[in-house]
Symmetry: C3
Subunit: 177 residues, 3 copies
């Protein structure tokens, strides 16, 4: 056994076991309804299968976790201008194609309601109930003219890229949406 002293199967196994609870991280950069919906479908699916899921909202993705109808409270007029243009709320995300000033998006929502499919707000509630962690990117919050008090309740953490990477390197599935 002495020859294998340097090679510790215990360490190998520990490392393997450490990897055991499957983890999923999703960066949500897009603010389009279709992409955000996909992110939440994967997040809720994974969480209900027992995986640990973390979602990082950045850039337009932050729109999904803004309180509906609350405009920017940035003190700076430039950020306020941007925050004004860029309305938020899980229920007001446009489709990435065929938005058609709201018509296409409304048609898709109608189809969803008729078929009793959950929309982004419902999926988001399910995600929270299933223990999906929500992290808001501090770097881009400022950039987008979004202040913390205009975000929904239930954000688990405000953090930057190092928090993301620390989670992603130990996850089995890492997606950028």
């Amino acid at each position: 056994m002495s020859t294998t002293a340097k090679l510790d199967p215990q360490v190998a196994l520990a490392e393997l076991q450490e990897r055991k609870p499957d983890r999923v991280t999703i960066v949500v950069l897009s603010g389009n309804m279709d992409r955000v919906m996909s992110a939440f479908i994967i997040a809720t699916g994974a969480a209900s299968m027992g995986m640990q899921v973390t979602m990082f909202f950045t850039f337009w993705g932050l729109n999904a976790i803004r309180k509906p109808g609350v405009s920017s409270k940035a003190t700076d007029w430039l950020r306020r201008a941007f925050g004004f243009l860029n309305r938020g709320g899980a229920d007001t995300l446009p489709l990435s194609r065929f938005h058609f000033w709201g018509l296409g998006t409304r048609i898709m929502k109608l189809v969803m309601r008729r078929n009793r499919m959950p929309g982004v707000p419902e999926l988001m509630d399910m995600a929270k109930d299933l223990g999906v962690r929500f992290i808001a990117c501090t770097t881009t919050l400022g950039l987008m003219g979004i202040t913390k008090d205009t975000l929904i309740d239930g954000i688990d953490q405000f953090a930057g890229v190092s928090t993301y990477l620390a989670e992603a390197k130990d996850a089995q599935v890492n997606l950028f949406i």
Copy 2:
């Protein structure tokens, strides 16, 4: 040997070996020519290197696997309307930029043909020949007003998010395009 009884290198190794055949999963949400082309270039590249590749087509990505020239057969008028707007077929995908009502996309296709580069339809045939698995997302098929009979032949499976996650968690490369 008794002290290491709990730490079984056999299990560790088995687990490692189970990971051995490299796997790639690609979610194709985008219906843009450039993104779909990238997805197929990676898929065919990986398959020809001996990796197991699964592609999950969802939302606009479903357009890539629709029979060309066949319009929506949804019975519901709303879905039919959406299916009408959203034309399909591997050969009719627009560029994500400079589509210019078809002109930019046509220029790029011309450049490809002149340089004998395979387009999306050819890459798709290659992918099928190389054993790439095609899965159509059942959740979004209905949403997009697309019926199964208007998809190309050779779809391996109709499935949802749990099928995707079961594959993704054991894959080395997971991409969301």
Copy 3:
């Protein structure tokens, strides 16, 4: 010991250790300022945490690594036309939303400058200083009407999909942006 001869913990451990230095690969297909910025924020963050990072620039992502103000030198008029439409340079990338013929993008850049946040050109320099590897996709360079001499200095490699996959399969974090 003879029964475990086939199961070599040494091999298992070696394989684990081979996985040790954390690796990140990022395919940059998008040429939008927000997505390219995210790619560089993740790349520089990972590199400063000691990870090995490789970025693969393809399609519109190639715009980020073009010399500013240098137009296409393609001999072929079709490619030249496309290269003319598709201007490059790290500092001229448009936002994916609210570009508004340059106004929205300019507002965001102003906000960034006022808050001393690095823009794409600065992040790119940081990435190079931190040892992030830049690979330009040879397959799409031609397609986009971009010639090698119009790219910035410091591209580490010109390569295709097999180079990408060889790196991605051994990386912990693989993103497609």
